[in-house]
Symmetry: C2
Subunit: 247 residues, 2 copies
Amino acid sequence: MLTETDTVTAAIVVIGDEVLSGRTRDTNSGHIAETLTRLGVDLREIRVVPDEQAAIVEAVNALRARATYVFTTGGIGPTHDDITADAIAAAFGVGIDHDPRAVAMLRERFSDPADLNEGRLRMARIPFGAELIANPISKAPGFRLENVIVMAGVPAIMRAMLDQVAPTLKTGEPILSETVRADAKEGDIATPLAAVQRAHPEVSIGSYPFIEGNRFNTNLVIRSRDPAALAAAKAAVAEMLSGLPRS
Amino acid sequence: MLTETDTVTAAIVVIGDEVLSGRTRDTNSGHIAETLTRLGVDLREIRVVPDEQAAIVEAVNALRARATYVFTTGGIGPTHDDITADAIAAAFGVGIDHDPRAVAMLRERFSDPADLNEGRLRMARIPFGAELIANPISKAPGFRLENVIVMAGVPAIMRAMLDQVAPTLKTGEPILSETVRADAKEGDIATPLAAVQRAHPEVSIGSYPFIEGNRFNTNLVIRSRDPAALAAAKAAVAEMLSGLPRS
């Protein structure tokens, strides 16, 4: 098991009917996951929920109670199906209204009052008590309320928002990992690999089969926050693999 | 809103530390989502959880109580980190043991008893009462217990299992959709689009911004189970777009 002391944890809520219908592939959660791993934050769960207030509220409230941070993506645009800000306000039981700071950000892009129409002003609706997250691409901000970080769904904008938030997060001891290509089928190494795992309880060893051409192969990923434990387990895995009968 | 009468619903549980670490991108849930949409099954939620029994049990039990079907992917291989079958048995409170039907399937591939070692035999551990799902690629089966369908994580094997399960599922009225490229920014159409949605409550209109070159554009996706309602709403969207002032 990985050490749980002082662990910083996270969860992601992807808000999007288009992901659930299979029309759009969610790439945001993979990017957030990579970023969190680099920061030593343990991502504990990802949920994809529909564009429905009750579903968003349920997921956000379940996850914000147990994770250090909850990241949401999607649903903060100007159209009628963008309901994330209202759902977050409902989840926290706080009010929501046009935020003068957010309106000022939108005015940087839409200086003509005719362009800052009712739809665009919806993007300035921010739950009371939230801090804004600037949007360098299209100005409409994300926001953070307590431990919930609300970001756009358009990948380029989401990434820009995450880049700003990342330096403000509590970070953990990064989890180090080593990948060893086994050049063996999982079934041929399962028993000795389990023995290595038992002998090295301070690392976590994952076994990931893949198909290459017509042959099964396996990547072994050893993870730990302790460099010495990681090196010892990696050596034990290599020794195990070198002792296999090879056909 | 989409009509809820006789709706067949589903949820997916992706079991995988490697997805949560960002190391692997989950492509399975997108493929399952597309398949379900084609079958008229409403996918209501996707959860990605770690390789931990308590997390798997919690997600499976929460979702099987509310969805017609729950699909799981991952964690049914031969190694120590493959714990899905045991977690499903625990979720249902049933026993688990080597299943003679599953052992027979494995013998088709591993005819030499030396190859059918302890690790590979782990893949024949099936919760009591489950039906098996054949694996034409590497033989180790998936299984179905009540409304929970347990599949492999290797994409090619998952797809082969899903192809077998799909014809056995209850299907719904397929949701039809039309995509209209707006050639307009979301903020310029938000208000009239909301009026179209209000006038056509029997369809669901989603608005999906994208960036092309340096310009924002929008895809509008209209969805309904009723072809006539879909056509009427599509015509109303086209009329709304043609009436926009164009710069």
